[in-house]
C-alpha cells in the first residue's frame, strides 16, 4: 500500500484505551515552534467538555477523557481543525541553573553514551552543558520536566531493559532527549550525571517548580572519568 505523499505531514491521532487519545504533530525533530503550537492546542482542547485534561508531551498532546465519546470522529475533526489553526504560543518563563556532576557512580551509563555516540567524555559534557534547554512539558513523575534543545549528536537509544531504580537528581539521556529525575524511581534512560534540586512540593501551588516555557541550564560542577 502506498501512502499519500502528504501523509507524512499530517498529525496522527491514536487511542489510549477509553481513557485518553494521543495527538502527535508530524515530524520527528521536536522543534520549539511545533511545541509552542502544541501549547496553544492544549489551551484550546482543555476547554472541550469531553476532555478532563490536555497534557502536552514532546510535540504531542494527550487528551484524557472526562467521558469517552461514543463516536470519535467529531473530536478528531475538531482536533485536526484546531491544530491547523494553532499559532505558536510563546511562553516566557524563568531560567534555572543546575550544577551537575558528570560520570562516576552517579553517571553509570555515561560509558554507554560514549560507546553509542563515539564522542569522548569531555565532548559529551561540553555538548550537554552548553545549550539552554526549554521546558517543553511535565511528565514521567511529579515535577519532572521534558526538555527540548539537546545536541542531536548526544542522542542515545533508551535502554533495552529499563533500570528498576535511579535516584532523584539523575541527569539522563533517552533517545534525542535529556532530563533530570525529580525523585527515585524506574527509568529506561541512560544516566550520565547527577544534580541536587527540589522539583516538587505538593503543599505549594503550583506543586511543580518548573512549567512549560521555563528554561534549564546545566553547569559543570565536576567530571568523574
Amino acid at each position: 500500500m502506498n501512502a499519500l505523499p502528504s501523509a507524512a505531514a499530517q498529525p496522527s491521532i491514536s487511542l489510549l484505551g477509553t481513557s485518553a487519545l494521543l495527538f502527535e504533530a508530524p515530524g520527528h525533530d521536536m522543534a520549539l515552534g511545533t511545541q509552542q503550537r502544541i501549547w496553544a492546542l492544549a489551551r484550546e482542547a482543555g476547554r472541550w467538555p469531553e476532555v478532563r485534561e490536555a497534557v502536552p508531551g514532546m510535540n504531542n498532546l494527550m487528551l484524557s477523557f472526562a467521558q469517552p465519546p461514543r463516536v470519535l470522529e467529531d473530536i478528531e475533526t475538531r482536533l485536526r481543525a484546531a491544530w491547523a489553526a494553532a499559532q505558536p504560543l510563546p511562553l516566557e518563563g524563568r531560567v534555572v541553573e543546575l550544577p551537575v556532576v558528570y560520570g562516576g557512580d552517579a553517571g553509570p551509563h555515561l560509558a554507554d553514551v560514549v560507546a553509542h555516540t563515539g564522542l569522548s567524555v569531555d565532548e559529551i559534557v561540553e555538548r550537554h552543558s552548553t545549550p539552554l534547554y526549554p521546558v517543553y512539558a511535565l511528565g514521567s513523575h511529579p515535577g519532572y520536566c521534558y526538555l527540548g534543545g539537546m545536541d542531536p549528536r548526544l542522542a542515545t537509544p533508551r535502554r533495552k531493559v529499563p533500570v528498576l531504580s535511579i535516584p532523584g537528581g539523575a541527569v539522563s539521556i533517552g533517545g534525542a532527549q535529556t532530563g533530570v529525575s525529580a525523585s527515585t524511581g524506574p527509568s529506561g534512560w541512560n544516566t550520565i550525571g547527577s544534580t541536587s534540586m527540589h522539583f516538587f512540593d505538593p503543599a505549594q501551588d503550583p506543586p511543580a517548580l518548573l512549567q512549560p516555557g521555563d528554561t534549564l541550564r546545566f553547569r559543570v560542577e565536576k567530571v568523574i572519568r
Binding site: 491514536s14 512539558a137 511535565l138 511529579p142 533508551r158 516538587f200 506543586p207
Partner: protein, 332 residues
C-alpha cells in the same frame, strides 16, 4: 482506630485515584482493583471514592481500637475476625479490641485474585492531597504519610461506631458476575494502540494467541510479562508522550510491560495496545506467576464493557440500598 499489626509491607491507602494533576507529572495511583474498592464502599454506604486499605501481601492483620463497620472485598483471603470466619465481599461490625486476619487468597474456579480491600465506614481518614487520598509512592505524598503502611501504624475511619450502616450482607464478586477467560485462563480485552502496526504479523498473532506470565518484577507501577518476544518490523525511537494505566509498552527486548496504577503518566516505548479501562481490575488482581490472555477489542467493545462495569456498580448500589431499607422497615 485501626492498628496495623503486620510487618509485611506494601499495603497502601488508596481511593479511585488522582485525576487532574497530569500537568505536573503526577500519575493517577488509586486502587489496582477499583471495582472492589468502589463496591466495598457502597456496601458501607460510603462515597464510592472513599479511601480504603489495599493489601497485596499476606498474611495481614489489624486490630480495631474502636467499634467499626468494615467491608472486605477483592481477593477471598479466608478472613477471620478473632476466631470467626468472615465471608468475602461482606459487611461486618468489628468490636473494639478484635483482630482481623487476612490469609493467603483462595481460588474460586479459574479465578484467583491477589489483592484485598479493607474498606471502613466513612473511609480511611487521611488528608486529600492534590484532590485524592491515594498514596503517591514515587512522589511520597498522599495516603498515609506518602508511603506503604508499616507495623504499628494507626489509621482512623471517618465514621467510627456501628449500627449506622448495618451488617450481615454482601455482594456477588464481579469476577463471578462478569467472568472473562480464554481456555480457562483469565483474559483482558485490549484496544490496539499507535504502534500496533509496527509489529510483525507473526508477533501480533503471537500476542493474541499466547499466554503471558506475570513475572516477579511486577508491582503497582507495571506488570512485566514473559512470553513470545514481540518483534517490531521497523524499530522506532519515540518522542515522550502521555500514557495511561493499561498501556502495553514494548521495550526493545520484546517483552511487554503493562502500565498499572502507579505508572508514569508519560513514556516513550512503542505501544502495542491498551488494556481497556473496564478490564484493568482483572489484571490488577492477577497474581505474580499466573498467566493471562489478551482479547482484541474495538472502540465499541471497550465502551460497551465500560458501560457494563458502571451498570454492575449501579446494580450493587441499588441492592445495598434495598437491603438497608428492608432492614430499617423490619426494625421499626
Amino acid at each position: 482506630m485501626i492498628e496495623i499489626l503486620s510487618a509485611s509491607a506494601l499495603a497502601t491507602v488508596q481511593d479511585l485515584g488522582r485525576v487532574g494533576a497530569l500537568q505536573w507529572g503526577v500519575g493517577t495511583s488509586g486502587a489496582m482493583d477499583p471495582l472492589a474498592l468502589a463496591a466495598g464502599n457502597l456496601l458501607l454506604g460510603n462515597d464510592a471514592n472513599a479511601a480504603a486499605i489495599e493489601v497485596p501481601v499476606f498474611p495481614f492483620q489489624v486490630r480495631f481500637g474502636a467499634d467499626l463497620a468494615i467491608a472486605l472485598t477483592g481477593a477471598d483471603c479466608a478472613a477471620r475476625l478473632d476466631d470467626v470466619p468472615l465471608l468475602p465481599w461482606w459487611v461486618v461490625e468489628a468490636r473494639v479490641g478484635q483482630v482481623l486476619s487476612l490469609g493467603v487468597p483462595r481460588a474460586a474456579g479459574h479465578w484467583r485474585a491477589s489483592r484485598a480491600y479493607l474498606c471502613v465506614a466513612g473511609g480511611v481518614d487521611v488528608p486529600a492531597v492534590l484532590g485524592s487520598r491515594s498514596t503517591q509512592l514515587r512522589g511520597a505524598f498522599g495516603g498515609h504519610e506518602g508511603r506503604a503502611l508499616r507495623q504499628g501504624d494507626v489509621l482512623c475511619a471517618a465514621a467510627p461506631g456501628i449500627g449506622r450502616c448495618g451488617s450481615g450482607f454482601g455482594l456477588l464478586p464481579p469476577a463471578l458476575a462478569m467472568p472473562l477467560q480464554l481456555d480457562g485462563v483469565p483474559a483482558m480485552r485490549v484496544l490496539p494502540a499507535a504502534e500496533y502496526g509496527h509489529y510483525t504479523e507473526a508477533s501480533r498473532a503471537a500476542f493474541w494467541a499466547g499466554e503471558w506470565k506475570i513475572t516477579a518484577q511486577s508491582d503497582r507501577y507495571g506488570y512485566r510479562l514473559a512470553g513470545a518476544a514481540l518483534e517490531a518490523a521497523n524499530p522506532v525511537e519515540m518522542r515522550s508522550h502521555g500514557i495511561v494505566p493499561g498501556v502495553i509498552q514494548v521495550p526493545p527486548g520484546g517483552q511487554p510491560i503493562v502500565q498499572m496504577r502507579d505508572a508514569q503518566p508519560s513514556g516513550g516505548y512503542p505501544k502495542l495496545g491498551t488494556v481497556i479501562e473496564a478490564d484493568l481490575w482483572r489484571l490488577g488482581q492477577a497474581p505474580i506467576g499466573s498467566r493471562v490472555r489478551f482479547i482484541e477489542a474495538t472502540w465499541d467493545d471497550a465502551l460497551d464493557a465500560r458501560e457494563q462495569m458502571h451498570a454492575w456498580l449501579a446494580d450493587a448500589r441499588r441492592l445495598v440500598e434495598l437491603h438497608r431499607r428492608q432492614r430499617a422497615r423490619s426494625a421499626s
